[in-house]
């Protein structure tokens, strides 16, 4: 991940997710992982904000801000307090990618309800099936300048 992209965006926002989506959509490393088909919700309860991303084939096909119900009408959603999101992204920025204590799986384990949640035990497994894709997506955040809301 040596590509330098000077993008500044506020997290969490549609612009921020789109900025990451635009990077991975043209990224060889992301493509090499393989296709990914999943809808993923992002919930920020303490900010009252919710987003939904559609991963389709080799790209992030859609990003939108949605209601809480819509965020939960996905394969799974990622949810944790805003401060924890911030810590994860700052760790990624500092290291160029998540260190061993800030991978999606590790954070998922540390939260009793899980970082990845779903109303459907089958659909939640998309978190594991495409784990490398989602980790890559977040590791790419090191390439932009994130401002926190």
């Amino acid at each position: 991940m040596t590509q330098e992209i000077r993008t500044k965006a506020t997290f969490p926002s549609v612009e921020w997710f789109k900025a990451i989506g635009e990077i991975v959509n043209g990224d060889d490393g992301y493509n090499r992982i393989g296709t990914c088909d999943a809808t993923v919700g992002f919930k920020f309860p303490d900010l009252q904000k919710n987003f939904r991303l559609t991963f389709e084939a080799f790209e992030v096909a859609d990003v939108r801000e949605v209601s809480e119900v819509e965020a939960e009408s996905t394969d799974f959603w990622l949810e944790m307090p805003f401060e924890r999101w911030k810590e994860m992204l700052e760790n990624i920025k500092a290291n160029g990618k998540a260190d061993l204590h800030h991978t999606l799986n590790t954070i998922d384990i540390e939260i009793p309800e899980g970082f990845a949640r779903s109303n459907d035990g089958y659909r939640r497994d998309a978190f594991y099936r495409f784990n490398q894709t989602f980790q890559y997506f977040f590791d790419v955040t090191a390439r932009i300048d994130t401002e926190f809301a």
Binding site: T35, F58, I109, P112
Partner: protein, 475 residues
């Protein structure tokens, strides 16, 4: 004699002729007789091919072609008479340019005259009207659906996209006992292949075609995709614990491959999506064995102790694919997914983190197939829900028996979670292991629930103790 000077001789044939001292005029005459260039080259390349023999052969063929009498050598006639070959048939073979010795050897080899006649007639037809006239082509009138033109989508041309028009008809019962692909036209008289699963409900999962494509698309290489260079020396007990975990996973991977391999030949060809996906699942199992064995043997450790194996035998001994699938793919793999998560959580370096994260993906596809199959099975076999609980009652009991006896794995997990074998570390490890058990049992129940099985009240007592919501993970 026809004018052959305008016939072009291929360069490689001319080279062979020159090496043998055979004139190019003889070669042109052979071509004019209709012998293919490759056949002439082959004959001229034989060790006993000489200019004199080539000239004699071509001259004899020209004489026969001009209506000259064909003489069957006495020795060949005797062999033909002995094996019931009519003299006229032998003459037709000679007229085609076959050497007497060659014909004699074919007769002695036991080729019956009726078979020989068909071949000779085909060669004669080829000489008269070219090879095209010898084709049968009746197979082109096969009554399968024609004109299909599937176009690639965002993910390329996938297996699932081929299910269009009549090719999308996937029957509830597959009526053919042979290896005929779905959509092809059956040939009468083809022997049965001995499959035992002909009913869609017994193996189908709606996600099978997608899982196959996913597995193919998301390949990774244990040898080079893992950052092996990040491995570093660990405390002895931690290295031993990691190697014990790797040994256990290796054993599970071999078992998974064996179970799938045992059942694949039982599944009829009507449901190729499932067979294709399961072939990748067997590959994933091999890859898991590969990468965890590599971890065990790349950081100063080695392989650990074998597990008791009761549960493994329980899976191998299943008597129906649906039983095998729910025990292997849902029960066993829910536990294994818990181990993969745990392994990633305690990873000491990027290599270990990568190993467990990459491996999760293939295992999750198996979970998805198992859940998808159970859901489909239950949608078609409403009266067999109790049977599923019976399979799980037995499997969970054997699993519990195995868990209680697998001391090496349990202690290895405690050491990995606690970070060592000191008293405080062990206390911490025991607490965290409890937490992990609750997590994987929760996920196991959630998968069964998604498939349509509420297992909460029927769960084996050993597992039920972990069925409550996980308490916060200790720091």
């Amino acid at each position: 004699m026809a004018d052959t000077t305008s016939l072009e001789i291929p360069a490689d044939l001319a080279l062979v002729a020159e090496e043998k001292g055979i004139s190019l005029d003889v070669v042109r005459r052979a071509l004019a007789l209709g012998f293919p260039a490759d056949a002439i080259k082959g004959q001229l390349s034989l060790p006993d091919a000489t200019a004199e023999a080539a000239e004699a052969f071509v001259a004899e063929q020209e004489r026969i072609r001009a209506g000259g009498e064909i003489t069957v050598p006495q020795e060949l006639k005797a062999v033909a008479d002995e094996h019931g070959w009519p003299e006229a048939l032998v003459k037709r073979a000679l007229a085609l340019g076959a050497a007497a010795d060659f014909i004699g050897n074919q007769i002695k080899a036991g080729i019956p005259p009726d078979i020989a006649e068909r071949f000779i007639a085909q060669q004669e037809a080829a000489r008269e009207g070219g090879m095209a006239s010898t084709l049968d082509l009746s197979w082109m009138k096969v009554p399968t659906e024609w004109g299909i033109r599937v176009r690639p989508g965002k993910k390329g041309l996938t297996v699932g996209m081929l299910n269009v028009s009549t090719y999308a008809d996937i029957p509830d019962i597959w009526p053919y006992q042979t290896e005929m692909p779905r959509g092809a036209y059956p040939l009468a008289g083809v022997p049965a292949m001995g499959y035992t699963i002909y009913e869609k409900a017994e193996l189908w999962a709606d996600n099978a075609a997608d899982l196959y494509e996913e597995a193919i698309q998301r390949r990774w290489r244990p040898s080079t995709d893992i950052h092996w260079e990040t491995l570093e020396e660990l405390p002895d007990e931690v290295e031993r614990a990691m190697c014990q975990l790797c040994t256990h996973i290796c054993e599970r991977a071999l078992l998974s491959g064996d179970v799938i391999g045992r059942w694949l030949p039982e599944m009829s060809y009507g449901y190729h999506e499932v067979k294709l996906y399961l072939s990748t699942a067997a590959y994933d199992a091999a890859q898991h064995f590969d990468v965890f064995r590599k971890r065990a043997m790349s950081n100063g450790g080695g392989m650990g102790m074998q597990s008791p194996g009761y549960f493994h035998r329980g899976i191998i001994d299943t008597r129906a694919w649906t039983e095998a699938s729910i025990v292997l793919h849902i029960l066993s793999n829910s536990f294994l997914m818990g181990l993969f998560q745990l392994g990633e959580y305690v990873a000491h370096n990027e290599a270990e983190s990568n190993i467990f994260r990459f491996s999760m993906q293939g295992l999750a596809r198996q979970l998805a197939y198992g859940t998808g199959h159970l859901k489909y099975f239950l949608s078609k076999k409403l009266d067999r829900r109790g049977e599923i609980h019976a399979y799980l009652n037995k499997a969970e009991a054997v699993f519990a028996f195995e868990e209680e006896r697998d001391v090496p794995l349990r202690e290895a997990l405690i050491i990995l979670l606690g970070g060592g074998k000191g008293n405080d570390e062990v206390v911490d490890g025991v607490r965290k292991l409890e937490y992990f058990r609750r997590r994987w049992v929760r996920d196991y129940l959630a998968r069964l629930s998604a498939a349509g099985i509420d297992r909460r009240e029927k769960l084996h007592p050993y597992l039920r103790q972990f069925a409550a919501e996980p308490a916060p993970v200790p720091a």
